[in-house]
Every structure is written in structure tokens, then in C-alpha cells.
């Protein structure tokens, strides 16, 4: 039985030093939870983006919550470069584990299979191999002279995301956003915020069951309406492009970033986000 708890209780499960897997902006981001984490002043997070990061990653980096980042890219999409990530790379304030999208998916898949590593095509000759000493190029044992990259499993302490729906048994519906399923399988603890909890079991009907993460992978749920704001949630609401534009404009400087935090994270607007 998964407990439905308030958001404050949920985020206390994320301690300083946690390795945490986070989805991209288009796949269900627990933004309210991230804002609360920032307000709590969590530090030393080791963030894994699945496979790329957006606003929540830039916010956490800017607020000084992140020590290590494993990512294929950090971007705010059409709104532009992620300013705090860009700045952190220039100043060296975070340790970057440079990756590529399929390597992150493959590392998580190794973890969900309980395997120590996963082989992956491509990548050989990329500078990524130079800067990832944990990636090994080895011969395919089933062929002659066929080098292939081996990637260690990625087993995050926590996976955190936002989804439209859960049921009172603690099953969470993610539809075709299967990267969320992979994250939940791979992580030790999965914490989810949802728009709504219903009493009918999501597993009762096979048509919804196909897109459901069973409760055995879920360790905490909070109900947060518009919990992905200001990014969008598929099938529910679009991104708040004005807010994202405002963020990009302000966060170019640290002063502007702090202003954004004071309004949307620490300020009165934080409690009443739409």
C-alpha cells in the first residue's frame, strides 16, 4: 500500500547527496516538488536527466542544489539555452558526466534488468568516450574484431516525476511516457506527484493497465494540481510559455535568477501557483 502524503512529507524523502532521475520538460516534471526542494535548500544532488534536462534542472543548478549532473543535454527548447546550466559549466561549479540520450536509457535498462552493464552501438570515436572513463570499449565476444561500448547500469536512489493520475492502491498512470516506467523500474525509490487520485483501480481495465506503473515500484504519492507548471503535462495542459520566457530573460544573470526564485519559489506566488 502506497501512502498518499502531503508534498512536504514527500520531498523529505529526498536527502542531501541523493542521486535523482528527472524526466525532460515534455514528459511530466514534478515542478512543485522541485520548487519545494529548492526552498528546503537541499544540496549535493546527483542529477540524472532521462535523457535530457529542462527547466527543473536549470532551477536546481542555479539554486546550488546540484553537485553532479549526468545528462545528454540541458535545454529550454524554443526558449533557448538553459542559462544557469550554461553558467555552471563555464565556472565549473558542477561536475558534468557528459552523455548521449540512448546511453542514459540503456544504463537505466541495465538497472531494471538487474544487470551490471549494457552494450550500446555507436559512440566510439566520440569525445564522450574520452571524458567517460566508466564507459568501456571492448570486443563483442560473439564476433571477430567488433568493438562495442559497455555502459555501467544507472541505478538512481530516487526517481521523481509528475503524472496525470494515480489510484488509491498507489498505481500510477503514465500512458505512453514509458521513460517514466523505466525510471521507476531502475530507481530504488520512486516519488510521484499527480493531478488526481481515483478510487477505481487503474489495473482493473487492461486498456488503462498497459500504461500503468504498478504500486510495487511506487514509494510515495502527493496530489498536486497543476504540479508540472510552468512546463506542460501531456493531455492535460500546455506549458506556460510566458513564464518560461520570463525565466530565460531573468536567469541570464544570477540576480535575475534570484528574483525569479523570490517570486515563484520563496514568494507568495509559490504557494498559489496556478
Amino acid at each position: 500500500m502506497v501512502e498518499v502524503v502531503d508534498l512536504e512529507t514527500l520531498v523529505t524523502r529526498i536527502e542531501d547527496g541523493t542521486s535523482i532521475a528527472l524526466p525532460p520538460d515534455y514528459s511530466g516534471c514534478a515542478m512543485s516538488a522541485v520548487r519545494l526542494l529548492i526552498e528546503r535548500g537541499v544540496t549535493d544532488l546527483r542529477v540524472i536527466t532521462v535523457p535530457q534536462g529542462g527547466l527543473q534542472v536549470d532551477l536546481l543548478i542555479g539554486a546550488g542544489c546540484v553537485s553532479v549532473l549526468e545528462s545528454a543535454a540541458v535545454t529550454l527548447g524554443e526558449h533557448g539555452l538553459a542559462p544557469r546550466f550554461t553558467d555552471a559549466m563555464r565556472t565549473g561549479s558542477i561536475h558534468m558526466r557528459e552523455s548521449t540520450c540512448p546511453a542514459i536509457h540503456a544504463g537505466l535498462q541495465a538497472a531494471e534488468k538487474g544487470l551490471p552493464f549494457m552494450p550500446l552501438r555507436g559512440i566510439i570515436g566520440s569525445d564522450l568516450v574520452r571524458y567517460r572513463p566508466d564507459w568501456i570499449v571492448q570486443d563483442n565476444p560473439f564476433a571477430d574484431d567488433d568493438p562495442i561500448v559497455l555502459l555501467p547500469a544507472i541505478r538512481p536512489d530516487v526517481a521523481l516525476f509528475h503524472a496525470p493520475l494515480a489510484d488509491t492502491d498507489g498505481n500510477v498512470w503514465v500512458g505512453i511516457r514509458r521513460e517514466l516506467m523505466t525510471m521507476a523500474h531502475a530507481a530504488e525509490t520512486t516519488l510521484v506527484t499527480v493531478e488526481e487520485v481515483i478510487s477505481d483501480s487503474l489495473l482493473a481495465d487492461e486498456r488503462t493497465a498497459a500504461g500503468v506503473i504498478p504500486s510495487m515500484y511506487i514509494h510515495g504519492i502527493s496530489v498536486v494540481e497543476k504540479g508540472a507548471w510552468p512546463v506542460g503535462l501531456w493531455g492535460c495542459y500546455a506549458a506556460d510559455h510566458d513564464n518560461l520566457q520570463d525565466y530565460v530573460r531573468r536567469a541570464i544573470t544570477m540576480e535575475g535568477f534570484n528574483e525569479y526564485l523570490s517570486v515563484y519559489v520563496h514568494g507568495s506566488a509559490a504557494a498559489s501557483t496556478p
Binding site: 543535454a73 552501438r121 511516457r177 517514466l180
Partner: protein, 242 residues
């Protein structure tokens, strides 16, 4: 009808996709996305997968399906760009200067280090074309243009399309060969603005300009379709209300 450079590029991309059966469009690629949708308008059998789109994307297995699909040979065209591209078709999506504390940092390599090896027809695309981005040697190799023979590599670069011209990539050189210049450009302007050496085809063409019918489509249904994923692009470049 007068046209914008973006519209010429959309049409050129659609022409380049003529023989293809499944084209995927990755992150931050509004022009390739619109070009792929225009190509599908002409040949409805073409499968188009636009990442980040809910309507023009049939993947149901999450973010990894694109990559699994590519490794199986189920995708035959993809687009890659680069903050820097060099004459060996090496691409850099990471940053300018010495890694890691680079003077300019870009988002990152995305799936390039993998898809460049596995998709047979990679179209390199860059809206910029100057000695700043088309360089003799990239500062960071997100993905190499060519590999030793022993490396498994069914994929790689076929062309480089920029705001000035279209190059073919010749694996045997290896290097680029100028195929056509866009209206208003010449071999000289292209040479002057390119930081790497390249071959010149015996008969360099002028890139075909969009027809009125194509422009109507781009400013109509194609623009609206790409606006689902790239609303700012559709609004500011194609004049779509969305």
C-alpha cells in the same frame, strides 16, 4: 511569390527525403520537421516521427524507442546539427573552447553520438554558415563524421545543408563537395564563409526555389502542423497563428 530562406530550406529538405521511408526529427529542429512533413504531403507512405510531437509521432515505448528503432535499421533518415561542423563532418553540440570549462556552452550531444552511426542518411543541417561554425576542426567531437572500417557503422552523413548552399559528403575523400548554391550566393561567397576546404562539383547548380503551391502549403497546413511542437517558429517565421 517571395520566400524566406527558411522556406527554401524546408523545400530542399523535402526534396532530399524523396526516396526515404521513415524519417525521424530530433530536438530543436523546426525546419527539418517542416521539411519532413512537406515530404510526407508529397508521398503519403513516408513515415515521419517528430520528437516532442503528440500528433506526428507514433512511438509508444518511451524515449528509447527511437534509438532502438534506429539500431534495427527501421529509420533511414535523420537530421543532426552542430554549433561547429568541420570538413571531416565531425559535429560538436557541446561547446566552444577547451572542455569542460568552455567559453560557450551549448545544450549537449543529445542522441548524436549514436544516431550518426546507425541512420544511413543523416542530413547535416545548419541555419548558420560562417567561418565561426563551419570550422577546420571542431573543439569537441560529439560524433565523428567517419570511423575506421572495423567499427560497426551503417550510418553517417550524406549531405550538409546550410543557409548558403548544399554540400554532398563523399566518404571516399572523405570530405564535402559543393552541389548547389542558394539564390544570391556564389562559389566565392560560400568559399569565403567556410572554414574548411571542400571539393566543388563540375556543375554547381543553383538550389531550386519554392513554388507558389509549396509556399501555400508551408504557410498553411504544414506550418500549423509543425506549430504543435514549435509554436514560436511557426508564429514568427511562417506567420501561423497558433
Amino acid at each position: 511569390m517571395s520566400y524566406r530562406i527558411e522556406e527554401l530550406l524546408i523545400v530542399t529538405i523535402a526534396d532530399l527525403l524523396r526516396e526515404r521511408s521513415h524519417v525521424a526529427v530530433g530536438a530543436a529542429s523546426p525546419i527539418p520537421g517542416a521539411g519532413a512533413l512537406l515530404a510526407r504531403e508529397r508521398s503519403p507512405a513516408l513515415r515521419v516521427s517528430v520528437l516532442g510531437s503528440e500528433q506526428h509521432n507514433t512511438f509508444t515505448e518511451g524515449g528509447r524507442e527511437l534509438f532502438d528503432c534506429a539500431a534495427q535499421g527501421r529509420i533511414d533518415a535523420f537530421f543532426l546539427g552542430g554549433a561547429q561542423i568541420d570538413g571531416g563532418a565531425n559535429i560538436n553540440l557541446v561547446g566552444i573552447g577547451d572542455y569542460p570549462a568552455q567559453s560557450v556552452r551549448f545544450p549537449g550531444s543529445f542522441g548524436s553520438a549514436y544516431l550518426y552511426f546507425l541512420v544511413p542518411n543523416v542530413i547535416l543541417f545548419s541555419l548558420a554558415h560562417s567561418q565561426r561554425n563551419l570550422v577546420s576542426k571542431v573543439d569537441f567531437v560529439s560524433a565523428p563524421g567517419t570511423s575506421e572500417e572495423r567499427i560497426y557503422r551503417p550510418g553517417g552523413p550524406r549531405v550538409l545543408l546550410t543557409s548558403r548552399c548544399l554540400f554532398d559528403f563523399d566518404q571516399s575523400l572523405p570530405g564535402f563537395r559543393l552541389r548547389s548554391v542558394h539564390p544570391g550566393e556564389t562559389i566565392e561567397t560560400v568559399t569565403h564563409n567556410t572554414g574548411f576546404e571542400f571539393d566543388i562539383a563540375g556543375d554547381v547548380d543553383v538550389t531550386r526555389i519554392p513554388t507558389d503551391g509549396e509556399l501555400d502549403l508551408i504557410r498553411g497546413s504544414i506550418g500549423a502542423a509543425i506549430g504543435e511542437t514549435y509554436p514560436t517558429f511557426a508564429r514568427t517565421v511562417l506567420g501561423i497563428r497558433c
